[in-house]
């Protein structure tokens, strides 16, 4: 009994010392990155950065459960003593919120030169890359196929459609974009139309995609990588780029965005990471990965199931305006979602 009890503090102390040594700052350069892009896609990119540059990457990833906002919340909570050097956002609105809160620092990377101005902050507070499109995922058995975001309000689909919680993620952003483009009145009318047409609400884009793949619903508005993922799993779904007609509003495109954090502990390592993420090679890899992200640099190779950005009719919006609109419509969306 006495011998056994001695083992416990010995093991405890040994573990504590091992962990303390592991976490003590050593000689290797380090960069801390908070990532809202799915870990399964972003981690390989960061690991390759580590191998190529010798800079150790320490990452914090987001989850669907925290609605891809866990990393954002940490950044905001840590504002007075930043731990992160870089934030890899999965949409520019979050980057814009960080700029508004004084958490972002300006940095214009030379590798961002080929990226269209629409997808960059003019003062360098964030730079977009590797985008996804907001598309319709439709079950293969659905007929006729929907062609527009407004199909949600078509009575023929009453009770047969699902949308991710409009309080979180890219769904919120797209609805804010609709409000910016069409005005508040039409935006509210659209949301009321969803309610009148008994559109169901799911926790996330991934859940929406799964529900459509299982045949529980006819279609949903999700991100293009959600659809590609299910197609690669041979699930019975199709991807439709909505609103591509001549008089239609176009498809909403959501680029990733990379942000340098103000007052970060390793700013030069952070800049190197940003430079790496904005290369054509990174975009090519993200295009061919299951992330299926659309490159924003011209002349980047991509797989056949993705459409080049130049061939998609893109919704013409300003992300700064969307970020501001989002703050004003959130109480309305909260009410709509039943909270």
């Amino acid at each position: 009994m006495k011998k056994a009890f001695w083992i416990i503090p010995v093991v405890f102390v040994a573990l504590a010392i091992a962990l303390w040594r592991y976490y003590s700052p050593g000689g290797a350069p380090t960069v801390v990155v908070y990532v809202s892009h799915d870990q399964v896609f972003s981690e390989p990119i960061l690991k390759d950065f580590e191998k190529e540059t010798g800079i150790q990457v320490r990452a914090v990833y987001d989850t669907e459960e925290t609605k891809s906002a866990g990393a954002m919340n940490r950044l905001i909570a840590e504002k007075r003593n930043p731990q992160a050097d870089v934030y890899w956002a999965n949409e520019p609105i979050r980057a814009e919120v960080l700029r508004q809160q004084g958490i972002a620092a300006p940095y214009i990377s030379p590798n961002g030169a080929g990226i269209p101005e629409t997808f960059r902050d003019p003062n360098g507070y964030w730079t977009g890359f590797a985008a996804r499109a907001r598309v319709l995922i439709a079950h293969r058995g659905t007929s006729p196929k929907p062609t527009s975001m407004l199909s949600y309000t078509d009575p023929q689909w009453r009770g047969k459609t699902v949308i991710a919680n409009p309080l979180f993620g890219t769904t919120t952003t797209q609805i804010a974009a609709l409000f910016v483009l069409s005005g508040d009145e039409r935006g509210r009318a659209f949301m009321q139309g969803l309610r009148d047409n008994a559109v169901k609400m799911s926790p996330s884009n991934g859940d929406s995609a799964d529900l459509v793949a299982r045949g529980e619903f006819a279609f949903s508005l999700v991100d293009s990588d959600d659809v590609v993922n299910r197609m690669k799993q041979h699930q019975p779904v199709e991807m439709i780029y909505p609103d591509q007609g001549a008089n239609e509003i176009g498809c909403f495109v959501v680029p990733n965005a990379v942000v340098l954090i103000a007052g970060s502990p390793h700013p030069s390592a952070g800049e190197k990471l940003i430079d790496y993420l904005l290369t054509k090679e990174t975009e090519r890899r993200l295009a061919f990965s299951d992330a299926a992200q659309i490159p924003l640099h011209p002349d980047v190779a991509m797989p056949p199931y993705l459409q080049p950005i130049a061939s998609i009719k893109v919704m013409k919006v300003n992300y700064m305006e969307i970020a501001s609109k989002l703050q004003t419509i959130l109480p309305f969306l909260k009410n709509w979602a039943g909270f």
Partner: protein, 530 residues
């Protein structure tokens, strides 16, 4: 003197580690941009009708979960802990397994079985499977999943206490009646305080659960707190939104205190190596075995089978180890350190509660239980507010912050187990040691700890399980590059292959069971030697 100093220090530690972050959060909810403001609370009051509906839903879900867990968990605990049911050891482990998995994953596994396009819909008529699917995504499904996840708490506490009842009472009852009546009129009433505590624990855990109701589309109040964090980035509003939950929690704790205030468990003194009294089931043995086996197949083995089948490929486990081996090692290390620290702090606090010597024992007990019921996110953000400063970066930037989180949230578990275990250690032994000149520490080391060994091991194991499966705190404060396995599973769930996620869940179960297996073998070895 040393006893009082140690116990008061332990209480102070709990207050600093647990209460200060919460106070920091509550204080910050009264300030916007540095100025005092009641806006967060005004907004809360303005939406009171909506919130009342969500609160009502949450209370209903928690009541149903707690009631079901008690109705099933108590008889199961009695069968496993007190009778000669065949395979009772295996059943105890089997029914405990859902407690080791984050409830969200149990919901996902059940969705694969009963959801549209799931296993059942392929075997049953579509009308039936549609009905089942519709019921699953709502209150019935939430209740079922949370009941599966939390029933083990009631079962385990019943097993622990039913075997520890002073046999004099049962033997006296057996002289005039049969076992069912003895159980109904003597044993269960004697352990009613423990059962009530278990039911309350289940209620509070279900009340604070977010993942399952969100996935199953049954909006409840904690989702509001998540919304304020994740959609509005408004920590003050999130904290204000947490206040009604805290009020309900305090009400439940007050009820628990009033009901259990004068209850004393009639437990038998510890006799090392003594066998537990057992009820012979006789002709009922195989029927009850069949019922328990059927229940295990339906509620535990079926969702676990989903995980195993989904992960059934060597490449899935290979990829899981490639993607998460570092998280697995870290989870083990953090859980071992966390469990050890919790057992030490829990022991001191439990001793304080048991001895009731310093008048602050009630406050310590209430504080520990209160911290347990707080959403992990609130504690996590509180820890960031308190510890993320240049001066304390050595703590905040290291796994120490996780350990502090575990101590804040889970101290009540080892504390209550210690307190109950110490009820079985005659105080006269301690007093005798003190009279012989032994210090308080010596009497603890040579007398109390050996007699309370099983309870301390149970406290360590339960602390280990909760530290290992923790998500709420870990996800908010883990040091960059140092995620734990449950966090890694959740982050990889976004577009990770189902086989990979299933493999990681199986690995999580194995890692959780590892020390349980080691301790079980060690105890058996010790029993054989003695």
């Amino acid at each position: 003197m040393e006893k009082r100093l140690t116990l008061v220090t332990a209480a102070a530690l709990l207050a600093v580690i647990g209460l200060l972050p919460v106070l920091a959060m509550v204080t910050s909810s009264f300030y916007i941009s540095g100025s005092f403001s009641l806006k967060a609370y005004q907004t809360l009051l303005a939406s009171s009708q909506q919130y009342a509906l969500l609160l009502g839903r949450g209370v209903l879900l928690s009541l149903l979960t707690s009631a079901l867990a008690t109705i099933v968990g108590v008889p199961l605990g009695v069968l496993i802990g007190k009778t000669d049911l065949p395979w009772r050891g295996a059943f105890a482990v089997l029914f405990t397994l859902p407690l080791l998995i984050p409830p969200y994953l149990i919901a996902v596994a059940w969705g694969t079985v009963v959801g549209k396009g799931g296993w059942i819909s392929q075997a049953w008529p579509s009308a039936t499977s549609d009905l089942l699917s519709a019921a699953f995504f709502g209150l019935p499904g939430c209740t079922g999943v949370l009941f599966t996840a939390f029933m083990p708490i009631v079962m385990l506490l019943t097993i622990t206490y039913v075997g520890a009842v002073n046999p004099r009472w049962e033997e006296a009852g057996r002289l005039v009646s049969r076992w069912p009546n003895v159980l109904r009129r003597i044993t269960l009433p004697l352990i009613a305080p423990a059962i009530l505590f278990a039911a309350i624990l289940v209620f509070l855990l279900a009340f604070g659960e977010v993942g399952v109701p969100t996935y199953l589309r049954y909006p409840v109040y904690p989702v509001e707190i998540l919304t304020q964090f994740a959609a509005f980035y408004d920590f003050g509003a999130a904290t204000a939104a947490a206040i009604p939950m805290l009020v309900i929690t305090l009400a439940i704790l007050t009820l628990e205190y009033r009901l259990l205030h004068n209850s004393i468990l009639e437990l038998k003194p510890v006799v090392p190596g003594a066998a537990r009294s057992q009820i012979a089931l006789g002709s009922w043995r195989f029927l009850l075995f069949g019922i328990v086996l059927g229940w295990a197949l339906l509620t535990v083995l079926l969702p676990l089978a989903v995980l195993l089948i989904q992960s059934a490929s060597p490449s899935a486990y290979g990829e899981a180890l490639l993607r998460a081996s570092d998280s697995i090692v870290r989870s083990l290390a953090f859980a071992v350190i966390g469990a050890t620290a919790l057992t030490l702090l829990g022991f001191c606090c439990g001793y304080l509660v048991h001895s009731r010597a310093p008048p602050l024992w009630r406050s310590v007990d209430a504080l520990a239980l209160f911290l347990f019921t707080l959403p992990g996110t609130v504690i996590g953000i509180g820890l960031i507010s308190l510890w993320n400063t240049p001066m304390t970066n050595a703590v905040y930037g290291s796994p120490a912050i996780l350990i502090l989180g575990y101590l804040a949230q889970y101290t009540v578990l080892p504390m209550r187990i210690t307190s109950a275990t110490l009820e079985r250690v005659p105080r006269s032994l301690e007093h005798a040691a003190r009279l012989c000149g032994a210090s308080w520490f010596m009497s603890l080391w040579y007398i109390v700890a050996p007699l309370a060994k099983r309870g301390l091991i149970a406290a360590w194991l339960i602390s280990y399980v909760f530290c290992l499966r923790d998500l709420g705190i870990s996800i908010v404060v883990y040091p960059p590059g140092s995620d734990t396995l449950p966090v890694r599973i959740l982050t990889l769930m976004a577009n990770g292959a189902p086989s990979l996620i299933a493999a990681l869940c199986v690995i999580l179960i194995v890692v959780t069971l590892l020390p349980l297996g080691v301790v079980s073998l060690w105890l058996r070895h010790g029993a054989r030697q003695s």
